[in-house]
Structures are given as structure tokens and as C-alpha cells.
């Protein structure tokens, strides 16, 4: 074993996995996990903890893995995180915990994410559940949205003895974990479902098909249904389009629609009713994780796939691991390219995309290199499907129906960074609804902080 290098993790072969929706990364087995845990220096003043938005005692749980006490390791993680099997898989560890790992200075950092995932998967397979809280406070708290922020906040509040109900607009709980992130990165039946079951095991009730702002409002929940505090974790689900000609043609999708059809509605699986127009030659516009997910989904549905990004590879916002996987699977990247028009045939279907080449200017005051079109560089790319993955913003449905809830100019809910307190008494918010589209773990961190603040608020309230 080379202590400077991460213990390699087994993966499904690229050629094979490009044709199925099974998980790409297979995770560590007991021996590999122990071997990796042994690399950890168990720092007294561990820097990695500071890189984790929910401050998991990382050396603490890794120490237990090394000793073979996986159940103990799970208990350590559970003190901090409600969704370890999810976070171990989808967190950008390279810019969080692992970025600060001392081992990373001279060599590769500890594979903290893969170890967390190993512990959580082990606990699930052994049927270990979190324990029901003993104390009951007999106070009702409503959580709007069942994504990572809402699930975390609800879990923490339930542990503190509150009577928590989550209201979810869709028919399935999980938010982006079920409709956004594909099966091959985050298995739904095993991983996501069981993490949600764990939150329910703490006593949290989940009411699906309730659209807050339509089915009922926050004011009604507080005035008529007896909820003493509310946490809004409704995310940022409103897709952006470019506003270029041809964007309403058949075969142009938002990444949200393409992924929802495939992940939540299971269009890829036989026996499910929801159709998907998969496409033969697909262009995905954008360079974030969602773009990678959409591209790799289209590939698995049988298409030849291009990722169109207006900056260079260096600026790609997607996780390095995902870009690496996408390339291995055969996704074709077109950098410094910007679409200007979607070309449409006489039946209203996409037949191509007109693009222009870009070049990057020197970094400006904000430190970003701005892309500008190159002169006379237009060309046509023949494609039959275009997936727009340009980011999302918060849905105004809740804010527009709740009296006294302030928004900023990006339509994000104004909330205190440390407590999630909004401008409305008793109402807290966190996750993408507050900061705009970000990461699962940041949403969880916000849910955690808000749960603590709600506990304080309700404890002080007479």
C-alpha cells in the first residue's frame, strides 16, 4: 500500500456502464475501508472537520472504521448528518473536507467521502436505524420541502422532541435526490428511500402532494393547523432558458424536465407510463453537475452526446470526478462554444443548433474570465435534442403567497446566515431557497443550523 495514494475504489467498467443506469462507483469493501482508514493520521486539531458544512467528527468515525467498529462509526456520523449515504456519494469532497486533509499536502487526501458512504451502506445493509427520541415537546413544526435541507432540519427537530410534518409538492419525498440526481450516481430504491425511512423512524411525518402556496399557505399552517414554527426548504427549482430563437421547438428540454422524466418518473425503465424523447444526437448546454447528469443520462438512453460550454475546461463548475466519468463514457465536450439559435424543421422539431466560438478575456475585477464571441466563427451542429442546463432559481410560489416574507433581487428568501431566520416571525429558511442553486451538503448545513435556531426560538417562546 502506498500511503500517499487513496485506496482505489472499484467502479463499473466505462463501456458497460454507458448502457445501464446501475451505480457507477461500487464503493469500498471491509478490507479496502480499513486500509483507507489506516492512512488517516487522526489529527488532534483536524482540519477536515472545518471543511465539512455539518462538521462531522471525521477522525472520530474513521478511527472506528479502522478498528472494525462500523456500527460505532455510524453512530458518530449520525450525530452530525442525517443523510450520510447520500453525502458520501454526492458531496464535492475535493473542495470541502478532503481539500483540508493534511495527507493531501504531500500526496492524496483521505477518501473521506468513500469512507462515509461505506459506513452508511454497511449500516443500511445491517438494518441499523437511528433511535426514536425519548423526550416529546408537544410542539408542531412544519417543514416545507423534502429535499436535503428539509430532511435534515426535520430529522434534527424530531431528535429534539418536536412534532414535525414535512409538506412535499411532488408525489415522492427527496427533492433533488429523487428527481435530479440520476440513479447511476445515487440509487433511489436502496439509498435514498432508506435514508428517508430513517428520518421517518425519528417520528417525522411526510405529507406528499401538498403544494404550499396553492393547497394551503404558510399563514394557514400557522393560524389554522397549529404549527408554531415553519422551515422553508423549497429549493431552487425554476429552470432558466437562454431566450434564443427556436427554444420552444420539440426536442428542447430543461435539464429539470429531462431528468424528472427519467429519474422521478422512471421513463428509462420498462413498465412505467411516462415517455421520454431520448434523442439520437443530443446537445447539453451548460457545464455544471446537472449538465453532467443530463448528458450521461442521454448517453445511457442511447444518444451521442455533446456538452456545450461557453468557457474552457478549467472553468467547468461540475465536479472533477463527474467530468472524468463523463469523458470515460464517451461524452464529447465542446468548450468555448455558445449557442445562438436552435434550428427547427417544418414539423416543429429540432434539427440543429447554431453556435459561435468564444474566447476568454483577461480576468476582470471579479477575477472571472469573461467569454466573448470570436468574429465570424458561427457554425451549425446537427442535433435532434437540446437540453438546457443553465441553472435554476427559486420558485416564487411560496414567497408570493406568504405575507411578510422578504426576497432579495435574485428571488431568494432573505434569511440570517447563522440561524435561517426570515423577516417573518416564526418562519425560518435554508438551502437553495435562500442561497440559490448550490450543493446538497450546504443545504443540509442550513437545515441543521435552522433546526437549532427553531429549538431556541420555541424554547424561549412562552
Amino acid at each position: 500500500m502506498d500511503v500517499l495514494k487513496k485506496t482505489p475504489v472499484r467502479e463499473q467498467d466505462a463501456k458497460e456502464r454507458a448502457h445501464n443506469f446501475k451505480e457507477v462507483c461500487l464503493g469500498y469493501n471491509d478490507d479496502e475501508a480499513k486500509e483507507e482508514a489506516l492512512r488517516c493520521l487522526k489529527c488532534k486539531n483536524a482540519k477536515c472537520i472545518g471543511g465539512c458544512p455539518v462538521s462531522i467528527d471525521i477522525p472520530g468515525f474513521i478511527n472506528q472504521v479502522e478498528k472494525g467498529n462500523v456500527e460505532e462509526a455510524y453512530k458518530v456520523i449520525s450525530n452530525y448528518s442525517a443523510l450520510p449515504a447520500v453525502c458520501g456519494r454526492v458531496c464535492p469532497q475535493e473542495s470541502q473536507c478532503e481539500e483540508r486533509c493534511i495527507r493531501g499536502i504531500k500526496g492524496e487526501p483521505i477518501s473521506i467521502g468513500k469512507l462515509e458512504r461505506y459506513v452508511a451502506d454497511w449500516a443500511r445493509e445491517k438494518g441499523i436505524k437511528p433511535e426514536m427520541p425519548t423526550e416529546q415537546k408537544n410542539k408542531k413544526v412544519a417543514v416545507i420541502g423534502s429535499g436535503p435541507a428539509g430532511l435534515t432540519c426535520a430529522g434534527d427537530l424530531a431528535k429534539a422532541g418536536y412534532d414535525v410534518t414535512i409538506f412535499e409538492a411532488l408525489h415522492e419525498a427527496g427533492g433533488v435526490l429523487v428527481y435530479g440526481i440520476p440513479e447511476f450516481r445515487l440509487p433511489k430504491e436502496t439509498v435514498v428511500k432508506s435514508e428517508i425511512e430513517n428520518v421517518k423512524a425519528l417520528g417525522v411525518k411526510i405529507e406528499t402532494n401538498v403544494v404550499i402556496g396553492k393547497s394551503t399557505t404558510i399563514d394557514e399552517l400557522m393560524e389554522e393547523e397549529g404549527f408554531e414554527a415553519v422551515f422553508i426548504g423549497s429549493g431552487a427549482g425554476l429552470p432558466k432558458f437562454m431566450g434564443i430563437p427556436g427554444e420552444n421547438a420539440n426536442g428542447v428540454f430543461s435539464a429539470n424536465e429531462y431528468l424528472t422524466r427519467n429519474n422521478l418518473m422512471k421513463a428509462f425503465e420498462a413498465g412505467y407510463d411516462t415517455p421520454i424523447a431520448a434523442g439520437q444526437r443530443v446537445a447539453v448546454v451548460g457545464g455544471g453537475n446537472v449538465a453532467m447528469d443530463a448528458a450521461r443520462t442521454a448517453l445511457r438512453l442511447g444518444a451521442e452526446v455533446y456538452v456545450i460550454y461557453r468557457r474552457s475546461e478549467e472553468e467547468l463548475p461540475a465536479r472533477v470526478e463527474e467530468v472524468h466519468h463523463a469523458k470515460e463514457e464517451g461524452i464529447i465536450f465542446k468548450f468555448l462554444t455558445n449557442p445562438t439559435e436552435i434550428l427547427v424543421d417544418e414539423n416543429g422539431w429540432v434539427k440543429g443548433m447554431r453556435c459561435e466560438e468564444m474566447e476568454l478575456l483577461e480576468p476582470d475585477a471579479s477575477g472571472r474570465r469573461r467569454p466573448v464571441p470570436k468574429k465570424d466563427s458561427e457554425f451549425e451542429l446537427p442535433v435532434d435534442t437540446v437540453i438546457m442546463s443553465l441553472g435554476t432559481s427559486p420558485n416564487p410560489l411560496i414567497s408570493s403567497t406568504t405575507e411578510g416574507l422578504d426576497l432579495n433581487k435574485y428571488n431568494c428568501i432573505v434569511a440570517d446566515e447563522e440561524t435561517g431566520k426570515t423577516t417573518k416571525e416564526g418562519v425560518f429558511a435554508g438551502g437553495d431557497a435562500v442561497i440559490g442553486a448550490a450543493t446538497v451538503i450546504l443545504a443540509m448545513g442550513a437545515g441543521k443550523k435552522a433546526a437549532k435556531a427553531i429549538d431556541e426560538y420555541l424554547s424561549n417562546k412562552k
Binding site: A169, L170, H171, T208, N209, V210, V211, K214, S215, T216, G237, L238, P239, F241, G243, E247, N248, N250, G251, F253, S254, N256, E257, T260, R261, M265, K266, G271, Y272, D273, T274, P275, A277, A278, G279, Q280, G302, D345, N347, G348, W349, D384, T385, T392, N395, L397
Partner: protein, 299 residues
């Protein structure tokens, strides 16, 4: 789970169901819709609210069994349950929030095409309950496809029934009937609200534009979530992109790009067709996903 309290066949392949859905019944208004998902593997189907009973906590839906999903839905009976029933979604009819003195001055004509009579009904009923008299044209291909005529007669001042083949009522399409009312019967209308197939709404709008009558239509594009998170239901209104599920479904009919909307509705036509074929042919079914067809609508 959401229980089917009542099921009725209104016309061949057109069904009415009362569904127990307390939250929806409590908060819904005419003009809004719900999304129904029958079971684990079903798709999310948008249906306009046809009636509601706040006391009982029930919502009435009317649907035509056209595709494989609605055909399967038609097999559900009283006492069965749908897995999911989300709503109310979309905006309520603008009439609901219009100041009373404004509304009182208006002479309104509702135009209902085929199964579109169902979403027209709650609006007319609401107007009646508030004490306003309105007229209503109900049109269909033939006598068998006219639905909710008796119910409508109870709430509208005048109901004009028209069939394309003349098998019942006035002979002709809804536009022929509107022209007859305005040109021959001396009727004057300040507002038309037309709900039915897109092609019908398009032609009603061409006519009412000529006649100078403002017109509201209720659009029915393909939807997935119905809450504004995907844009599957987008359409162009007055040159701007709108999401029918949150900005609508009702829009100013003189500003809607109907041709684009009709093309977008065709997107999964063959996919739906294939689903029906697959069901009929069972194990002998072949094809799908091979990409061998040259038909662009088949991709």
C-alpha cells in the same frame, strides 16, 4: 391515497369522477387544475377541476379516455383509490378576483368544446352563485359527445348546443353558432371564455378578434410536475415564454401562439401510440427505441 367517491359515464369514453381530496377541495377555485397519478408506475396527468364540494372534501374531474393512461384510468371504479392527487394548481379564473361592479357590467359568453365543457362548468356555476347571468355555447362533433348539458342549463342563462353533424341542436361548429348569435340574434358580448381543443380555441380567437371581443382561453399543454419546475408546458404568449402550469392555464387568447402549442402537443404522440400498441399486442410487440423511423415525430 385518494378515494373515488363517484364514477359516471357522461358519453362514450368520457368519464366523471368525484375524488376525496380534502386539501384540494378546501382551497381550489374555478380555472385551476389537479395532477393525478394513478399508481406507482403511472404518469402525472393534468386535469382541470370540474366541480368541488368543500363540505364533503371532494373534487370532480372529467376525462376522456384517449391515450393508454386515461384508458387505464377509466378502468378504476367507485371505492378504488388513486395514489396521488395534487393541487389545486395554476391560477384561478380572473373573474373570481374581478371587482363586482366591473363584472356586473359585462355580458359574458362561455364557449365549451367537447370535454372542455367540464372546465367551463365550474366557472359558469361560480358566476351563477355570485348572481351573474351568462350565456354558454356547448359544441361537439355529434349528439353523443355533448356532456353536462343539463347541469349547464341550471347555471347559465342561455345554453346553445351545437353539433358538427347537426345530430342535435344547432348544426355547425361553435364558431358558426357564435356568428349566428352575434349577427342574427342581436347578441352582444364583452368577453368570451373559450375552453376546448387547441384547434377550436385558435379558431374562436380568430373570429372574436374580428368581432372585437376580448377572449380568454385555457391552454392544455403537456405537463410533468405542474408546479413550474420543468417548463414542459411552456408556450408563447404575446412574444413571451410562459409556463402554463404557473402563469396559466388561462391566457389572453388573442396573444397565444396556437400553432406552436399544437406542435408541442404532438411531441409524444407516437410515443403514446406505441404505448397503446404495446398493450394491445402484448408479448408480440416489437420495436420502440430502435430509431429506425425517418418520421421526425417518431424520434
Amino acid at each position: 391515497m385518494y378515494k373515488i367517491l363517484k364514477k359516471e359515464t357522461l358519453a362514450p369514453n368520457i368519464y366523471l369522477m368525484d375524488i376525496e381530496a380534502k386539501r384540494v377541495a378546501k382551497s381550489c377555485y374555478p380555472g385551476q387544475f389537479v395532477i393525478v397519478k394513478m399508481d406507482e408506475k403511472g404518469e402525472r396527468i393534468p386535469l382541470t377541476i370540474c366541480d368541488y364540494d368543500r363540505e364533503i372534501g371532494s373534487v370532480t374531474i372529467v376525462f376522456q379516455a384517449l391515450g393508454s393512461s386515461t384508458k387505464r384510468m377509466a378502468e378504476y371504479e367507485e371505492g378504488d383509490e388513486f395514489r396521488d392527487f395534487a393541487g389545486p394548481l395554476g391560477r384561478k379564473s380572473e373573474l373570481i378576483d374581478e371587482p363586482e361592479d366591473e363584472l356586473r357590467k359585462k355580458s359574458i359568453l362561455f364557449v365549451a368544446g367537447g370535454v372542455g365543457t367540464a372546465p367551463v362548468y365550474p366557472q359558469v356555476k361560480w358566476m351563477k352563485e355570485q348572481g351573474y347571468d351568462v350565456d354558454c355555447v356547448i359544441g361537439a362533433r355529434n349528439k353523443d359527445l355533448i356532456i353536462l348539458e343539463d347541469e349547464m342549463k341550471k347555471v347559465a342563462k342561455n345554453v346553445y348546443v351545437t353539433t358538427d353533424d347537426g345530430s342535435y341542436g344547432f348544426k355547425g361548429n361553435v364558431n358558426d353558432c357564435i356568428k349566428d348569435l352575434v349577427n342574427n340574434q342581436g347578441k352582444h358580448y364583452d368577453l368570451v371564455i373559450a375552453i376546448g381543443p387547441v384547434i377550436m380555441m385558435k379558431f374562436v380567437c380568430i373570429l372574436t378578434k374580428e368581432l372585437g371581443i376580448p377572449t380568454i382561453v385555457s391552454m392544455n399543454p403537456i405537463m410533468v410536475d405542474g408546479t413550474g419546475m420543468c417548463g414542459a408546458c411552456r408556450l408563447t404568449v404575446g412574444g413571451k415564454v410562459k409556463f402554463a402550469c404557473v402563469d396559466g392555464p388561462e391566457f389572453d387568447g388573442h396573444l397565444v401562439d396556437f400553432d406552436e402549442s399544437m406542435k408541442r402537443q404532438q411531441m409524444y404522440k407516437t410515443v403514446e401510440g406505441r404505448a397503446i400498441l404495446k398493450e394491445k399486442e402484448g408479448a408480440t410487440h416489437k420495436g420502440g427505441g430502435c430509431g429506425c423511423s425517418d418520421d421526425p415525430a417518431d424520434r
